[in-house]
């Protein structure tokens, strides 16, 4: 069974119980994606599957034949950071950094969802255009927990990238 990870073809032949998260970290050596709760509650393991954000701890590697997975390693490099990575640095959007790869992958997909016109629970109008307020960012990012409490700076970083990409 083959899948693409950050543009590279990989084969999966392991135990069917292997989560996508464990496959990425243990078998592919892509340890940027973090294991927090391993139960879909913290969002540290957020990756993109065909551009859509999901919790990689709550899906099996074997279920992703032919899928394109993007992890934090596929978004940017030390020399060429993704705009979200740069914004997290300039706004100090972390303390310990453990949730950061998940936050950034999640934010990347969140901005794509917004561009696709998706409403959220706090959107006053389900059908109209959404203005990305702090309340909207908080709701859309509620699947990513930061136990250091860097939320104000995380929201600043995301809003800056959202503004600059308009």
């Amino acid at each position: 069974m083959k899948l693409s990870i950050n543009g590279e073809q990989r084969a999966f032949e392991g135990d069917t119980r292997t989560s996508l998260l464990d496959f990425l970290r243990r078998d592919c050596g892509l340890t940027g994606t973090k294991k927090g709760c391993d139960h879909g509650q913290c969002g540290a393991c957020t990756v993109l599957i065909n551009g859509v954000r999901i919790n990689s701890c709550l899906t099996l590697a074997v279920m992703h034949d032919g899928d394109e997975i993007t992890t934090i390693e596929g978004l940017g490099t030390m020399d060429q950071m993704h705009p979200l990575q740069a914004a997290f640095v300039s706004h100090d959007g972390y303390q310990c950094g453990y949730c950061t790869p998940g936050q950034i992958c999640s934010a990347k997909a969140m901005l794509d969802e917004l561009a696709g016109g998706w409403a959220s629970f706090v959107s006053s109008d389900l059908e109209g255009e959404v203005r990305l307020t702090r309340e909207e960012v908080a709701e859309r990012m509620s699947g990513n927990i930061c136990r250091c409490g860097a939320y104000p700076n995380i929201v600043d970083a995301i809003l800056e990238v959202a503004e600059s990409s308009k």
């Binding site: 069917t16 119980r17 954000r53 919790n55 279920m63 409403a119 629970f121 389900l126 509620s142």
Partner: protein, 326 residues
């Protein structure tokens, strides 16, 4: 996690055959895999149904047919749902997170299991997880538990939001058995009360699989989903209410209300809908509706607050839906 055999199905009937011979269907997996990690669910075989052609929302019978594999995200984002069934879009958006809704499916969401702490803790008694072992929640920490329809065997609640809106809308679940025959069950009758089989959450029989959900023609009117919870995002409902209500000449022309977080199933009480219909909206009427809804309420200690909370939430929803000022 216990070992299991994994098969990917590409046809509905072959999937149904595997399910009949004991395989568990897996779609989004967000609830099932969580429970398998904890060894609360221990299937020996999984059949991956994600390749089945059940991933579309189509017009049907004046309403919409939502395929069982439509994700929660895609359902809530569909313009027809947002425009004609806003209570459903709101309810879905009120549940879980974007990451989870991107995986969770319409069929799987209906089958999600309770979040009762005792169900989740294999060291505790739980008649739902292990029939006959007792109920740890009775006499234990039962803050999130049921106030309606429960008994001494089980006071767990159904945790979902989407199904509450589907109950208010009068939607139906489409179910296929291993022989390929299809039946329809109103969502209001899909989930069960614990009765003497608390281990059985819904009316699905062995070998049956959900293939879709049918929404009736748009009801119009005012549609509200209000969810009361411990934090403002990513939490299960303590109480939630889905309301579909229309007014004519100052009177309530029709009302359909469903309640989440207070029973073993999404709660619908047709007496409440009938009481409201044809009446002038007043706070006195809303209190009568709450009296009727809660006339058989039974509390368990830590969840006593849910009775006044349900009353207040109901009154707030009815005021908003009818335009009556508080």
């Amino acid at each position: 996690m216990r070992p299991f055999e994994y098969t990917r199905a590409d046809q509905v009937d072959s999937a149904a055959q595997m399910i009949r011979s004991g395989a568990r269907p897996i779609a989004g997996g967000t609830n099932l895999l969580d429970l398998m990690k904890l060894e609360i669910e221990t299937p020996s075989a999984l059949v991956d149904i994600n390749q089945l052609p059940l991933g579309r929302i189509e017009e049907a019978e004046g309403g919409l047919r939502i395929g069982a594999l439509v994700t929660n995200s895609d359902c809530a984002a569909d313009m027809r749902i947002r425009r004609d069934y806003p209570v459903l879009a709101r309810a879905i958006l009120g549940g879980a997170t974007f990451q989870l809704r991107n995986k969770a499916t319409t069929g799987g969401n209906l089958c999600q299991r309770t979040r009762c702490y005792y169900f989740y803790n294999v060291d505790q008694p739980c008649n739902k997880r292990e029939p006959g072992s007792g109920c740890g929640a009775i006499g234990g920490m039962n803050r999130i538990h049921a106030i309606l329809g429960s008994n001494e065997l089980c006071i767990a609640t159904y945790p979902g939001d989407m199904a509450v809106a589907l109950c208010a809308l009068g939607a139906e679940v489409e179910i296929m058995n291993a022989e390929g025959n299809t039946r329809r069950v109103p969502v209001r009758e899909f989930h069960r009360l614990p009765g003497d089989k608390p281990e059985k959450d819904n009316v699905l029989e062995p070998g049956e699989v959900i293939t879709g959900v049918l929404l009736p023609p748009p009801a119009g009117g005012t549609q509200i989903y209000r969810k009361v919870r411990d934090r403002s995002s990513y939490a299960f409902a303590l109480v939630s209410i889905a309301a579909v209500l229309s007014m004519e000449e100052g009177r309530i022309a029709s009302a359909s209300l469903a309640f989440g977080g207070i029973a073993h199933k999404p709660w619908h009480d047709s007496r409440v809908d009938r009481l409201l219909t044809g009446e002038l909206p007043t706070d006195a009427l809303f209190d009568q509706a709450a009296d009727l809804l809660l006339d058989s309420a039974r509390v368990w200690g830590f969840n006593d607050f849910k009775v006044p909370l349900t009353r207040r939430t109901l009154k707030a929803v009815l005021r908003e839906a009818t335009g009556v000022a508080a």
